[in-house]
């Protein structure tokens, strides 16, 4: 009697947990994973005064811990999170969540105080303290704790060491070190000269340029969100989604042949690779005419140069994509500067706005291309394969 009840419970339980696992596996493809995290980020930024309340934050973190522990009972999930070089990913998730909470909690408190005209957490008349002993001892304690953590970590967990280097035996998947996996993920959508050279350079340039573009004098030296919502939202998108989420995706969910595997799935090297992708030129010259069914216009991809050879075939072929991208890079900023970015344009002026748009346009071309890939299987806006210029 009891056994049968137990087995019924066990069956029901495994039924529920299997359903949850299947759902989460299905949600692991970038279409859903990235979209859901973007939605969560937007909700998080809109409701930062609610989720930063201690009770809500504790509940959320308990739920997360429960989810992680429950997931770790799964063989495949356990295998992926306990790879020695994947341990930092879990640490990164936990610490990033913790400090983000600490920051937005104080921002919520400060913003409420600013509304009431009260002094900030960070304000305080005549609150200087001597570095010795107040700061020096804090540093000492931090160093001791850090040393203890490192030594214990080193005793508990061996550094990974695989078989000796063998140039003829290529592992599948071949992954870059974990902190570059966000960039490696971009290789799915962009050619290496963009994903591996241009975008990293623009990230560095963009970060350096940030203090010179952000002319908002408020929010200097204290936590706030209300006084600089646009800059913080943009940065958090770049940091949380384009960096952290893509690293998690690349580390935990990318398997053999760079296919996506849900966290509870076994890595199967025989799963077929993805479908063929299409270019804007195909859409313009082949697919759309076919779909419209015109008898009088069936151009096909242009293969002949024009204007006596001065306009090579690839320029004609790629004209639709070039027009589209030119619009995005050069016309859209003008429209934006006259409409929703009007205030920003007036604050920062022409030169800064140009740099601002250079950085913004390249940051947002990533999610734009992701969405177009997911929806229409788009490969390139402009594909000049002859000269390795593919965007």
């Amino acid at each position: 009697m009891t056994t049968s009840i137990h087995s019924v419970f066990a069956a029901a339980e495994s039924g529920i947990s299997d359903t949850i696992k299947d759902t989460l596996n299905a949600l692991s493809v970038p279409e859903y994973f990235v979209s859901i995290t973007v939605v969560l980020l937007i909700i998080g930024l809109l409701t930062y005064r609610q989720w930063t309340r201690p009770m809500v934050a504790v509940t959320l973190s308990l739920l997360f811990i429960a989810f992680y522990v429950w997931s770790a009972l799964d063989e495949n999930f356990f295998k992926i999170i306990t790879k020695p070089d994947n341990i930092p990913i879990t640490m990164m998730i936990v610490f990033t969540a913790l400090v983000t909470w600490v920051a937005f909690r104080q921002a919520a408190i400060n913003d409420a105080r600013l509304e009431k005209g009260e002094p900030l957490i960070e304000s305080g008349a005549d609150d200087k303290v001597l570095v010795w002993p107040d700061l020096v001892y804090t540093e000492l304690i931090a160093m001791v704790l850090c040393t203890v953590v490192l030594v214990v970590w080193a005793i508990v967990l061996k550094a990974p060491l695989e078989p000796p280097a063998n140039p003829t035996n290529i592992p599948n998947p071949s992954k870059a070190p974990w902190y570059f996996l966000g960039l490696q993920e971009l290789l799915v959508y962009f050619d290496p000269w963009i994903a591996g050279v241009l975008l990293p350079s623009l990230i560095i340039v963009g970060l350096i340029a940030l203090p010179f573009i952000d002319k908002n004098p408020r929010g200097n030296g204290y936590y706030t969100f209300k006084q600089r919502p646009f800059v913080i939202s943009t940065f958090m998108f770049g940091w949380m989604i384009m960096w952290i989420v893509l690293i998690v995706l690349g580390t935990f969910l990318r398997g053999p042949n760079w296919n996506i595997f849900g966290p509870y799935e076994t890595w199967d090297p025989h799963r077929p690779a993805a479908l063929l992708n299409i270019n804007i030129s195909d859409v313009f010259w082949v697919i759309t005419p076919d779909w419209l069914g015109f008898e009088w216009w069936k151009p096909g991809l242009p293969t002949k140069a024009a204007l006596g050879g001065y306009m090579p075939a690839f320029l004609i072929r790629e004209a639709p994509g070039i027009v589209l991208l030119s619009g995005y890079f050069f016309v859209l900023p003008v429209l934006l500067a006259k409409t929703i970015f009007r205030k920003i344009y007036h604050e920062i002026g022409f030169t800064r706005f140009c740099v601002f748009w250079l950085l913004m346009s390249w940051m947002f071309i990533v999610p734009i291309k992701m969405v177009l890939r997911w929806m229409f299987n788009l490969k390139y806006f402009v594909a000049v394969t002859e000269y390795f210029v593919n965007i």
């Binding site: 010795w132 140039p167 592992p171 071949s174 203090p211």
Partner: protein, 261 residues
């Protein structure tokens, strides 16, 4: 007076002690200020700081931890250099030996985990500085120095990744360094490289492009191992050390830890 105190007093009144520490016991404002001012390491700090600025919830201690991890990496790194030879024939065996034969064979573990922790710590330091708006005037330049230090940290970690010379190492570095092949103009598969000709001779090919410069060869081999070793142990740490000094000095000069103006 207890024995402990009297021994302490004896030591502090000796000529040797007085020659090293030129101030009295830091028990009042003056001697405490002197303790920081007269010490070359401690005077990286200002004498006094804002109380709200050194709260753990304000700084998260991440900048300091990044620096501490840099020191820990330097110390363990120097010790590792005693045992490790950056040659294809020996590298892997030396790593095995480090674990199997060296007393307290934890050095490599501490070094590797410390490197991961340093990457995370410096990211979170940047996040903190961003969210408190501490990159705003007058600290723009120091933020820029910090961004370079962040890049150097990633490069340190990346160059170190190759040194164990196992499958993980060479393929991760292969994936990473393949990007250099696609550098515009300077990589042989990059846009514009096909236009670089002198007469009929191509300037940029697999044996002359940016990736070749990085690897010292057309694939991750002995040349790459030596180059990454030198970059990892000498060049990048030196540059980082200079920039760290600059970074700390500017923290002081720009008004110490940030706070509301």
């Amino acid at each position: 007076m207890s024995l402990f105190d009297s021994v302490g007093n004896y030591v502090r009144q000796s000529q040797i002690w007085g020659s090293v520490f030129r101030h009295g016991v830091p028990r009042d404002r003056r001697t405490r200020a002197m303790a920081v001012l007269s010490n070359v390491f401690l005077h990286l700090h200002p004498v006094a700081v804002r109380k709200s600025g050194i709260r753990l919830s304000f700084t998260w201690c991440m900048g300091g931890l990044t620096f501490f991890l840099f020191l820990a990496e330097t110390i363990t790194g120097v010790l590792l250099m005693f045992y490790y030879r950056p040659v294809v024939e020996y590298a892997y065996a030396d790593i095995i030996g480090l674990r199997a034969h060296v007393t307290l064979g934890l050095l490599r573990e501490i070094h590797r985990w410390g490197a991961h922790a340093m990457v995370i710590a410096i990211w979170l330091h940047m996040l903190r500085v961003f969210l408190t708006g501490s990159y705003k005037p007058p600290r723009e330049f120091n933020w820029s120095v910090g961004v370079i230090l962040l890049v150097l940290t990633l490069l340190l970690s990346f160059t170190g990744y190759l040194l164990p010379w196992d499958q993980l190492a060479i393929w991760a570095i292969t994936v990473g360094s393949n990007m250099a092949r696609a550098t515009p103009v300077l990589g042989h598969e990059g846009p514009g490289a096909a236009m670089m000709f002198v007469g009929e001779v191509p300037l940029i090919h697999a044996g002359s492009d940016a990736r070749f410069l990085l690897l010292g060869g057309t694939a991750v081999g002995p040349g790459a191992l030596l180059r990454f070793y030198v970059l990892h142990c000498i060049f990048i740490p030196l540059v980082a050390a200079v920039l760290i000094a600059l970074h700390f000095w500017r923290v002081r000069k720009d008004g110490a830890i940030s706070g509301p103006l």
